[in-house]
Symmetry: C2
Subunit: 250 residues, 2 copies
DNA sequence: CGTTAAATTGAATGCAGTCAACTTAAGTGG
DNA sequence: CCACTTAAGTTGACTGCATTCAATTTAACG
């Protein structure tokens, strides 16, 4: 079931078959399905388990008292929502679906067993956690420094390259099941302005966007326009170093 | 030496004397001093050790090719710069000082020993890591949704409450050794606008700011204006639950 | 085919940026 | 300790990117 997670973690370091089986087991105990635009967990709730996205898109978000809403990150298939959340007493943000979503609830004891018995998974989850933090930092830069055009361009680069790592793209195109309002909530722009920026990107032939499908005919060109530097995704098989090290027994 | 770190971790769960000694040992092997406005580590460098701020202020930042600079987070005394950063091959951001800084370099083996032999420290570092991530999320909201006035107000609340947790405030005031340019780099505002916002906050008697000292006569009022909800700092002694649980032997 | 959500367009407004000059504070060396 | 230098803070005028409001078109869906 959790092919996307396994595939993603293997970007960091190869997992053994046993590691894979352990992940499959953990991800098959409790599978739930949510419709589009539903809350998986709300701000203030106590986290009970780790959610693993198997299918569909979700997001973290926070809402201010007056209704303003910020999408803090997107969860794609293979993404884990905070392997260690239950260290905290309550959620400081909500997790909601974008599309309909199939996810696995992994119990805390299950997570502990996974990391206790599988050092390679532990390391890979650390990598996952650090990359998630790096993405959050990059979003900070995006919102703080980039113009509207750059912001949307940057987000589209990320939302193409991340799924590509788990085999969810076809050539230069991928699914983008996100409304313009949601793009605005993620980039701090109004939906009206998102629309205008998308038109500008289209007219410059940097993107093709019809329905829920995004194509990027010249990714490098879009990256240039968006000042996108892929280094923050740490995709360069960091694990090679790991294999040579003494940290993880072969 | 690392009283601030110990004090901070104890907000989460009480540490034993032995835990404290282990932290003191780890933090005294190699201590370095930096002047103000220097780089501790640059983007692209390989992380060699964990930095623990003993004294002074530092920050993470990222710079775009054209010079635009975003401060991603502030490091105060007691803050650890990514306990597991060496899982990654290279830094995706820089760490620079704000004031002159005294910091301890903790070697990776030292970190591993610390977490191997002290489960309570491990848990407390997890809490630290999760709170750091929560702060980064809140900054995302800050930059994406709040107005200039709210942004600065929110940041000032955070920069008062965080040091208060480690004993670095006196009554309603604390040090704020940050220029208006740096406040702008952190909030995505121009220095000119930061200046005007600060004047507005002063004229509403929400802050007193002279030199490097900040006073907040009515914290709740400032929190209201800034839409500041303290929950994301997770200060409510999460450890109580920990003590009752089976995860950590008493 | 009708209903609702999403996308698009135009016009008017405003928050924040830029540029440039000036003042004040801080730091340094004679 | 003061003169000099540089950094930090402040002010005004002008500009512009992005928002808001409102209307309209298009697409999605039962």
């Amino acid at each position: 079931m959790p092919q996307h997670l396994i595939r993603k973690l293997q970007q960091f370091a190869p997992l053994s078959e046993e590691d894979g089986r352990a992940l499959e087991d953990a991800a098959s105990r409790k599978v739930r399905i949510f419709g589009a635009h539903q809350d998986v967990i709300r701000e203030g709730d106590a986290p009970e388990h780790v959610n693993l996205i198997l299918e569909g898109w979700a997001c973290r978000y926070k809402q201010l008292e007056d209704g303003r809403r910020q999408i803090i990150s997107f969860f794609l298939p293979g993404d884990l929502c905070d392997p260690h959340v239950f260290v905290l007493r309550e959620m400081d943000h909500a997790i909601g679906t974008i599309t309909s979503v199939r996810l696995a609830e992994i119990h805390r004891d299950q997570m502990l067993r996974l990391t206790d018995e599988h050092p390679r998974i532990t390391q890979a989850l650390w990598w996952e956690t650090l990359v998630t933090a790096a993405i959050q930092r990059e979003w900070t830069v995006n919102l703080g420094q980039r113009t509207g055009l750059e912001r949307i361009g940057h987000l589209l680069c990320e939302l193409f390259i991340r799924p590509r790592g788990v085999g969810l793209t076809e050539g230069d195109s991928c699914l983008l099941p996100v409304t313009q309002v949601e793009l605005g909530d993620a980039t701090g722009l109004s939906n009206v302005h998102v629309n205008r920026v998308l038109q500008e990107l289209r007219s410059r032939e940097l993107i093709v966007l019809r329905g829920k499908r995004l194509s990027i005919p010249d990714l490098e060109a879009l990256q240039r326009v968006a000042l996108f530097n892929v280094n923050y995704l740490h995709l360069e098989r960091e694990g090679r170093r790991l294999e040579e090290s003494h940290l993880i027994p072969g």
